[in-house]
Subunit: 382 residues, 4 copies
């Protein structure tokens, strides 16, 4: 059976990893690091060797805050050299505005307008660097923009400040790099008790209130959706429906607990399958980016098992999508369920029609059978 699966990633699969996912040293709130640091330049090379299409980064992953201009330039030059030599792209360069204590109460929503301005500066810095690296997307995850003490910040103010910062950033981009795009990666909580704009829905709604909504999109992360107990397929589908899917962060997670950032597909195979189905049957052309990290029990070497595992599972699931589309029984049921579609009549017409609920409810909906077929397809048992 394994023969029928091609588990070797290719550049054309457009897989991507965040530099930070490999740079993770296995520290957590209750434990010290279990892995030595690794040089981001080496991560770039190693990813490239594994046929990864691109990497994502925070400017600070490559150039720590406080680095001088000359060293910054050297590091960027080194990165570019590796990207050229090993043929790998950078497809997202954001900023880490969450680790440094200056952002302990928020970046774009700090009560202090100087902190907000400083955060905008950090993003400007990241966009400049991204541009140099050939990147065209700045994805914002506002990890610290939330609160634990409801009285400490009025959410109405916070939303205004967020908007102001986003608008200023858009202005910068429009003037300097008109083809650059911006995106929001929402998360419900952790490291803050509640983070503002907790889901893709909230982010899309917020974008509609910006000065230039057309410059902004979203990058949903599966684990973040599951941390709110929501359905990640529906979340991504709504982003697609709105024409706003700029990227995707693939991983997995047991719902409604701390941010686990587990290897894609390690939890919830069926939901993962339908994510791949969505991506492969839409006009989405972005990367398939993995944003997770090896278990803390792994050593440095384990990180590469982890990298391969993510891509292999995607490839198996993509093959399952093909099988699904070619499965006659499944497709026959789907055709029957969907029936004949037609546009709604006018309201007047609808008001004047006599509907017979008893008759309308008589259609059989064989969802148990359908779902069982899908489960067996996933298990390789059909």
């Amino acid at each position: 059976m394994s023969n029928s699966y091609s588990l070797k990633p290719k550049k054309s699969d457009r897989f991507s990893f965040g530099l930070w996912t490999i740079m993770n040293i296995g520290r957590d709130p209750f434990g010290e690091p279990t892995r030595p640091p690794i040089n981001p330049l080496d991560v770039i090379v190693e990813l490239a060797k594994r046929k990864v299409y691109s990497f994502e980064m925070h400017a600070e992953d490559l150039v720590p805050m406080g680095t001088g201009a000359r060293e910054r330039d050297r590091l960027v030059r080194e990165a570019k050299k590796r990207m050229r030599d090993y043929k790998i792209k950078c497809t997202n360069c954001g900023s880490n505005c969450f680790s440094h204590p200056v952002f302990k109460d928020g970046a774009f929503t700090s009560n202090d307008p100087h902190v907000r301005a400083f955060a905008v500066q950090r993003y400007i810095y990241a966009i400049d660097m991204g541009y140099e690296l050939g990147c065209r997307l700045c994805n914002l995850w506002w990890g610290r923009d939330g609160l634990e003490v409801e009285g400490s910040k009025d959410t109405r103010d916070a939303l205004k400040w967020l908007r102001e910062c986003c608008n200023v950033l858009t202005e910068y981009v429009l003037r300097n790099y008109p083809d650059y795009e911006l995106s929001i990666e929402p998360k419900p909580n952790e490291p803050r008790g509640d983070i503002f704009l907790p889901t893709t829905g909230h982010a899309l709604a917020f974008i509609a209130t910006l000065d230039h909504p057309e410059k902004w999109g979203v990058v949903p992360e599966l684990a973040h959706v599951r941390m709110a107990g929501l359905n990640s397929v529906h979340e991504v589908a709504q982003a697609l429906d709105a024409g706003k899917l700029r990227g995707i962060h693939l991983n997995s997670q047991k719902p409604l607990r701390y941010d686990q950032d587990i290897r894609f597909g390690a939890e919830d195979l069926k939901e993962s399958f339908f994510i791949v189905y969505l991506l492969e049957t839409s006009d989405y052309e972005g990367t398939k980016s993995f944003d997770c990290h090896p278990h803390r029990t792994e050593d440095r070497g384990g990180a590469w098992d982890f990298v391969e595992g993510n891509m292999r599972t995607y490839l198996v699931l993509r093959e399952k999508v093909n099988l699904y589309q070619q499965d006659r029984q499944i497709q026959r049921i789907l055709t029957r369920i969907r029936g004949v579609q037609k546009a709604l009549p006018s309201p007047e017409n609808i008001a004047a029609t006599e509907y017979d609920p008893g008759k309308l409810m008589a259609t059989r909906l064989p969802y148990e059978k359908l779902d069982q077929m899908i489960v067996e397809l996933l298990l390789g048992a059909r």
Copy 2:
């Protein structure tokens, strides 16, 4: 102490209850009814006697599906008479498109276009009735618009169908009752495994894609927010920020479990306080509507204890808002925390400024003290 609290509701408080909340007979998935049915006309009168400003309803609460035109007219007439005699308004008339088996797989998102059209017809019917009753809002809760079996429906189709139905309904309203408004009440799950547009954020984002977004708003329900483990204060604040808060459904709920619909304030006093704070310090002029039901252990009489309890808790919390605003120590801390606000400089200006993170992070943020003061204020201990 109790003397200082005025716990008697007044019409000017604009309290409201759903007819269904009192008509609830105490049936649940595992148990038979514990209360006899009650006539909706009697509910209208009894609410009015308790100084409730208005009621909300589904058309079907008053006129069950399948009722003939003459009986329908008689019931509407009787309702109007009671509204006049007892001085109570109707401020929301939606449709129950979730109880009848014809909607078992969705109303606006049924795979069957005739079911979708029938659901639109039901809403047209409800809007006509609402208009006759002097109501100007039709709030839609799509209880059945979701799925358990991911393969049974493509969310991308579902969103298109939802949009088409909403657009047709808007057309009807624009032609017939141009001052009528429409709203969405989101819910994450139950009775469906996952309901489409699970949160206020998703609903607001979806509204932005409608033909006439200006005709649509949202009615967040606190318990629905808590069923997704999100922060209800932030949810309502974002609706306010977007100028889209058309109503609010007040109640309470232990997070992340079945829909409990408990009396407002019975759980999570601090979050309830901040909800009242938001409503009382914004320009929101809608009703404060309670959407919950008495515990199944209550008999008919208990329903009125429940009605009073909801309003009393709101009134106590509103008084706490006053105390909060008058508390000098609290206000002094808030003033200090918020500091001097100013607009962001231009991006060029920001890029050119030298910020000192070490200095910026030195400001003390006494949130433990502030939160403790709020807790003591709520407990009546300051």
Copy 3:
């Protein structure tokens, strides 16, 4: 591939279904029934025809509360006839002490001692009936034994009442049917806000305080475990470790939401696999019982798709257990991980030994690789 899977259930597989699972008429808190009632005697026959080994029941499933003695005897006679004719057993007969309003505030934990006594009577009645049907287990699910209003009941009292009722029931069993066994099926919430003894752990701990702990065991239900966000594998393993696993209720569920009771394996394939692994690699000899119900969208016929689906998924997963045990690479990793086991030295010995943490932590733990292999095994891709 499907050839290699034998998906036909056999009596020796010891599959079981609750009568109530098929008798479910598709009513939920927000909707009317979607399926007509079905006679329990017919359910017995139809299950038997599908090679189901046994059924489980509440006495009230067969003989509704209030039925006269003669009719009761007739129904029991009819059931026995079908059991004989179609060769199917009854392996659990409990009592429905949750549907009738008399139990609205609890059965064994009602504040009213007469209600508690009445509940005990119902269980006595169920045990008598079970005995006649050749059953030897009475499984108790105390659906109403909990509360929403903390002040309404002191949990310390509730636990005493539970214990007293269980002890009296044990006394009855010891005197009348010494080979009969009793078990507890825990659930965290729904239909009560919080149910007493919410997990297998709490039930096992409570059993240790009974007069005759040896007469009592547990019947964990997977969905109930997931409603508390816990790990169902660990839950069942602890019951096995304690020698207390008397049965198991297989199904699935999205965690931390309303009780979904979905077909086994429809959610969380990996967790389901490890449940099957546990059952198949332990000395557990009870039934594999499915406690779930068809989606409300199904008609009567769909119920049988549902029945087959449950068993098929179990059979596929059991075959995966075989593949897992025969997979050399996986087994090699497992052997390496487990290493050489030996008993702990004496405390004195331990205190006197010098351990080198640096050395101890150097062992590689290739869990990413192992987990990836398991995922691929489940997907049929190795």
Copy 4:
């Protein structure tokens, strides 16, 4: 109003704090420390000055792993001196077997028997130190004893290893310090995907399988209960019912998300009230210990606001318990609800009695009214 509340802690209140709660430097998975380290000896003094009765500790809080014997003795001597001078006790001395990478895959459940032995050694070390400090309780929180990869460890093995380690530790205690006690503090997850023995129920059940169950008890932590979405009042009540409550860790937390460890009472005032009610109306004589930490936004000074806040809230809630017990209306309702209690008749007697469910269900259960009174009592509005 504040006059009626005595918010000054006294030694007789038996308040306690973990040293680690103040030593917390504000680091989290996404951010660097925001507070400088503080010397544990200073923490002891500062707590004592605030009338805290005792502190809890991990041996490693005072004496980091790897410290030489002489330095260890000096530190213990210094601690004892401060304890004597400032009159503060040590009431729990556990071991930190979760931070060091050697425990990355578990302490008592590592697959490696040498790691398990080393963990036992660390606890022996902690018990020796505790004894010297006058402590008589060693509370075990097995932060690392769990897994993310189900295949990596068989829970049946893990439970055996846990038991073996606990038994060896008991042996050590019985031989050396017969009056020493041991306890388990359960937690459902974080830092591991699933931790073994996730709740008080599981821990109590496990204790029943130890060689000397009488030496072991539990120390429930409120936030840990809420992380599993369970009811902390019921959890503590079951520990009391089993005679096993050895301590309590008071704090608060939004349910079902990452471990927040927030100030006691900052969330869920009603649940917190009933916890205080339980402790104050039982024969519990242990400490009221706070296990949480100041928000990361606080500086060093804020930690002392936090310390005071915890104790103040407990004192206000204790006063509310008095008010509750003296409130005639509330007590009258409670008396009526509870009715006349009596022991259950014999099973024969029960079987022979005729019960009338219609009559039994007629009693009114005014829980809405009762709960409303409690809410108003908490809000200081009665």
